[in-house]
Structure formats: C-alpha cells, structure tokens
C-alpha cells in the first residue's frame, strides 16, 4: 500500500487552536508523525519584563483562555512569596474557590470537545450547557466568564455575601446531578467506550520518562497532585481525594477528569460553607526586593510552574512560565504511532492540549 502524508492543522476542524501535524499514513494506520508548535506565540514572558508587577497580573491572565485564574494565582503567589506577604484566609478561600470552579469548567469543556471529536454531539451539547452554570457563578463573583481579574497581589478583588453563597450552593447541586449523568454514561455507553478504550495508551514508565503531569499522569496510575503534595492557597484546610486510574488510555483520562469534577464540587461546597470572615487583601509595596522564586500550582491540566526573578525594581527581571501542556505534547509522537487515522482527534483530545498556554 502506498504511503500518503496527511496534514492535520494548523487549520483543521479537529483543532480548536493552531497546531500542525504531518502524519505519514499507510492505509488507515499512522506510521509517523511530525509536530510543529509555535503558531500562537505572543511573547508574553518578554512583555512581563516591560510591565510592573501589578500590570503583569493582567498580562499572565491572558496566557490561557480556559484556565486564566490559575495563572494569576500562581503569579500572585510567587510575588507574594518574594514580598513575604501573609494573604488573609478569606482571600485564600475565594482564590481556591475560583480555582476549583475553573477546574470544573475546564474539565466539562474538555469532555465536550472529546465528545465532539468522537461524533457524540449530544454529550458535547450537554457538557457545554451544564458548563454554563459554572460560568454564570464565576461571572457573578468576578464580572468575567473566563478572564476574572479576581487576583491582586496580596489578596483578591472579589467577595461573596451569605445570600450569594446559598444561591451558589443550590446551583452546585444541580451541576452535580448532571455530572453524575455523564459519569454513568461514560461507564456504560458502549459506543463511547469503543472509541476511547485502549486509545492513546501511556504506561506509568512513559509518564515518568516524559514528566507528564495532571490528569493524564493520574490516569496512568502516577499519583501526583500538587494540591495534596505541596498544598498552596486554601488546600491544606480542605478534605479531598486525589483521583487515579490504572488503564492509562483516553477512557481512563475521561473517568479521572469527570471524577475530579465531582471532587472539585465537594471542595467548592467546603470552601463556601467554611468561608472565614476577615479582610480580602493586605497592602503590597510597589517595589519587590531582589530575589527569585518558583511558584507551583495544580492547574486543570497539571502542574503549572512560574519562575519569577526580581532585581529590586518595580518590574520583574524574568518571568518564566512552564505549562503542563508542554509535557503532554512530547508524548504525542509515542501515542500516535500505529493508531488508526480516525483515532487522531481522540488522542489529541485525550491529553487536553492547551496550545495557547504552551506557546505563550
């Protein structure tokens, strides 16, 4: 049979963000794949060096269009560590609340994208419809559906009163019912399993070798989660489980993500019911003393690392961002080798790429 080369991207219906693959295909089997990234490089790290610390909160918020809040959280956390600020507990709780709401929104969005890739439009529509509940809550809290501008250095700029907390708790119950429906479906629907089981398999050794993080690692049985391993913000006060699975395929990743969504809902309930009283911010000086810091958080896609170096001025000397997508991009070559062309979108969806994050 003759070999043909199929280009996937930079523009392709299966890609929500620009990314390019050259697939060498024989019949319907993939022999080789070549990846190109960098189509949405915006030079954000350099821009950060030209702005002051306060302006940079809004710059790093634009790194990602899905998980914007976790970027500002990681950045603010780093700067607060450089300044030696003690952030008040109410601010930490609200910060964490948005982090978890964002995780729910990101995972539901991902579930919809996966469903659309495998031609299961109904789940796509349901997942994105129910995601609106979270988006509405976030909009009420911060004024923005995706870019919240909720974090400031030394605290948060949002607040919730008791009536609002009660109304959010009500809607979280509705959301939980819907997510349980998805869970039931993933466990039982055979056509869904036919498309996701055994596809995009990564063993625990491969995960460790490529330093894969987040749900993709946990779905292969590698138990890593910074929320438990190196608690930041309000996570040390929360009760939660880290979800893992053993299979290491797209189906396991789906299970891990959907179960994590339910776990996040529980965390949101804890955060809302135990919300401490107190101030929302502490005053932060404009100039940051010289020094360097590494700030790590668990983004919806895995460990997010910010390295910030200060030279004592009001602008950072360097901001380096390492996003979780970078680690999963490297595994794609292994995952795509030998699979069916029809499984390419499933593999791509399975690792939950965020190209805007990776390119910055």
């Amino acid at each position: 049979m003759t070999k043909i080369t199929i280009p996937i991207g930079p523009q392709h219906p299966a890609l929500k963000e620009p990314l390019s693959f050259l697939l060498t295909v024989e019949g319907e089997q993939i022999l080789d794949s070549a990846l190109r990234i960098g189509y949405v490089h915006r030079g954000l790290e350099r821009i950060c060096q030209n702005r002051n610390y306060v302006q940079n909160v809004h710059v790093v918020e634009r790194v990602c269009g899905i998980c914007s809040h976790i970027h500002t959280t990681t950045y603010c956390q780093g700067v607060e560590a450089l300044l030696g600020l003690q952030v008040p507990p109410r601010a930490l709780y609200l910060r964490t609340l948005l982090c978890e709401l964002e995780r729910i929104h990101s995972h539901l969005l991902w579930l919809g994208v996966l469903a659309e890739y495998i031609g299961f439009t109904t789940i796509f529509m349901y997942a994105w419809r129910d995601r609106e509940i979270v988006l509405d809550i976030m909009e009420e809290l911060s004024g923005g559906r995706v870019a919240h501008a909720a974090n400031v250095i030394g605290g948060v700029s949002i607040d919730a009163d008791e009536a609002h907390v009660a109304s959010i708790l009500d809607r979280l119950d509705v959301l939980e019912r819907q997510i349980k429906l998805f869970l039931d479906l993933i466990r039982r629907e055979r056509s869904f399993q036919a498309r996701t089981r055994g596809v995009g398999h990564l063993s625990a050794e491969q995960i460790r070798r490529y330093c894969v993080v987040g749900p993709a690692a946990r779905a292969s049985g590698v138990d890593v989660d910074l929320r438990r391993d190196a608690p930041y913000a309000a996570y040390k006060w929360l009760n939660f489980q880290v979800i893992t699975a053993e299979e290491g395929d797209v189906w396991a990743r789906t299970m891990v993500r959907v179960l994590e969504t339910i776990e996040s809902l529980h965390m949101c309930r804890q955060l809302l019911t135990e919300l401490p009283a107190g101030p929302l911010t502490v005053r932060a000086p404009r100039r940051v003393p010289p020094g360097e810091v590494v700030s790590r958080t668990e983004a919806p896609r895995g460990e997010l690392i910010y390295y910030i170096r200060s030279d004592g001025s009001d602008r950072p000397a360097r901001v380096k961002i390492r996003t979780p997508t970078l680690t999963t991009l490297i595994t794609l070559h292994d995952q795509l080798a030998g699979v069916h062309t029809a499984d390419v979108p499933v593999v791509l969806a399975g690792v939950d790429l965020c190209i805007a994050c990776a390119d910055r």
Binding site: T5, E28, G119, F120, S191, R195, H340, A342
Partner: protein, 312 residues
C-alpha cells in the same frame, strides 16, 4: 398529449422532483429540529433547509487544480438522477408512477449508485481528505449493503413478489411485516443509516477526522446537488421501508392513505434522528466488524428462516 402531460407531471411534480424536494426539505427540518431538542438546543426555523440550499446554489463553484472537472460535475447529477428515478417505483400514499415485477431490485440498484459516485468523487477531487473519505465510504458500502439487501429480501420472499407496490398491498390485507420480521426491520434500519451516512455511521465524512471526506473540495452548486441527493435519498429510503415493512398506506379505511403513510414515514425519521443523537461515531474497522460479524449473519439467518417458513 395527455399521456405526455401525465408523464411530465409524474417526473417533475408528483412523485417526481417537486414532491421529493418538498419532502426532503421538510424531513431535513424535522430531523434537525428533533435532534436539536434531544440535545437541549432549539434547532433551526422551518425555512432553514431551503435557505441553505439557495445559499449553496448561489455560492462560487471552485475545484482544485488537477481535479477532473467533467466527472466532478457529472457525479452529483448522476446520483441525483438515480435517486429521483428510484422514487418513481415507490408507492406514496397508495399512488405509484410506474411498477412492474422486480422493481425492488431496480430501486436497490439505483439507490447504490450515489454511494459509488460518492466514492469516485472523493477519488477524483485530489485531496488527501477526500481520498481517505472515499476509501472509507467504499469500505462502509461493503459493510452495510449486504445485510441491507438481505434484510429487504425478507418481505419480498414472504410476499412472493419483487414488486414494491405488491408487497405493500399484500401487507394491508394481512399483518405488517415489521411485526413478522422485527429483526429484518431493525437490520434494514441500520443498513439505511449506513447508506445515508448518518451519525453514528457518518464515518466517510467525519468532520473531526477528515474534514468533509469526499466532499471536502466541492462547493457551490455541486455541493448543493450532493446535499440534495443525500436528503432525497433519505426520503426515498424511508418511503421504501414504510412500503416494505410497515404496510404502505392503506391500513385504516377511515383515515386517508396519504396521511397514514406520512405518519409512518415520520416514525422512521424519528428513529433515525434518535439514533444519531444517541451514539458516538464508530471507527471504520469497528463498522466493518459489526457489518460482517453481526449484521450479515443475522440477516442471513433471518433470510433462511423466511425461506423455510415461506416455502414450507
């Protein structure tokens, strides 16, 4: 003179092009609406299918350099002509334009022409996506066509006739064949979904994998004709199943035949819409597996049982 007029009327108005076009647009709208409601959406307004058709007809028609232009222009026309011709032999509401012993076979042959044209369109329009889509559509054709044909031969064997109108007429005196051969009816439905390349068997045109499959490079009038072919094929396929399995038009004496025929057709359309909302798209190797390991043996068993019962 009057005979010519009646022929022209049959070709252009009823049950020819005009009627089928109206049905195709209506069915498409109902289908989209039902699926949208199942998915928690609102769905398009009633004139959307017509608006889509007019819009496509008015759009610029381009083909890539190197594509066979004559073939690419001829293929959608041939497919449309084939499904329109097939419709002439299918009774609608008890009225049929032409009928003879063996027209079922002719109809099945005519209905398989679009599938082959679809494959050729992919092969001739020089794009990797179309080539992959074309080869998938051929593989899919071989997977559903055999069980589909065997399932449809069930009613013919039981009725002892290969004429669609006669099979339909016989059922109105006895019982619907869908009740006698529920398995055959199900197989025919599955085969029809495969034939129409509807979800979950929309493998040759899976948009997240190969853009639009064989039709990736088509645009304007040619694409409009392709879409029209697919939608009229759906109408013809549904009418065929209504006649073969659900007793055609005349069941009740009090209700007019056309009305009862329409209700039955809507019932099958509803099943197609629900099926497309309920499942994920299969992979082509999975479909081939199901086709040959499950559907074909079941269809064969059904056919043998029918011959045994019908003959003995």
């Amino acid at each position: 003179m009057t005979e010519w007029l009646s022929v022209l009327f049959a070709l252009l108005v009823f049950p020819g092009f005009g009627f089928l076009l109206a049905c195709a647009l209506a069915f498409q709208w109902i289908d989209r609406r039902v699926e949208a409601r199942l998915q928690g959406r609102v769905g398009p307004p009633w004139f959307q299918p017509l608006a889509d058709l007019i819009k496509l007809l008015a759009k610029e028609d381009v083909l890539p350099v190197g594509a066979n232009e004559i073939a690419c222009a001829a293929l959608p026309m041939v497919s449309l002509a084939a499904v329109l011709t097939a419709a002439l032999y299918i009774p609608v509401g008890g009225w049929v334009a032409r009928t003879f012993e063996g027209d079922l076979i002719v109809v099945l042959f005519l209905l398989s022409i679009p599938a082959l044209a679809y494959f050729l369109a992919g092969w001739l329009s020089v794009s990797v996506y179309s080539v992959v889509g074309g080869s998938r559509s051929l593989l899919q054709f071989f997977s559903y066509e055999v069980p589909f044909l065997m399932a449809l031969s069930g009613p013919a064997i039981l009725s002892g006739s290969w004429s669609i109108s006669r099979i339909a007429a016989q059922q109105s005196q006895a019982v619907w064949l869908a009740l006698v051969q529920p398995l055959g009816f199900l197989l025919a439905l599955v085969g029809l979904i495969g034939k129409l390349k509807r979800s979950p068997f929309d493998i040759p045109k899976a948009k997240s994998e190969i853009v639009a499959g064989p039709l990736t490079e088509f645009s304007g009038r040619k694409l409009a004709l392709w879409h029209l072919t697919m939608h009229i094929q759906m109408v013809v396929g549904i009418f065929l199943l209504v006649n073969l399995f659900l007793g055609g038009s005349d069941v009740g004496v009090t209700i007019p035949g056309v009305l009862i025929f329409g209700i039955k057709a809507l019932f099958i359309l509803l099943m197609l819409s629900v099926a497309s909302a309920l499942y994920a798209r299969l992979r082509i190797d999975q479909l081939a597996n199901i086709g040959w390991r499950v559907l074909a043996p079941l269809a064969l068993a059904q056919m043998l049982a029918t011959i045994w019962i019908g003959g003995g």
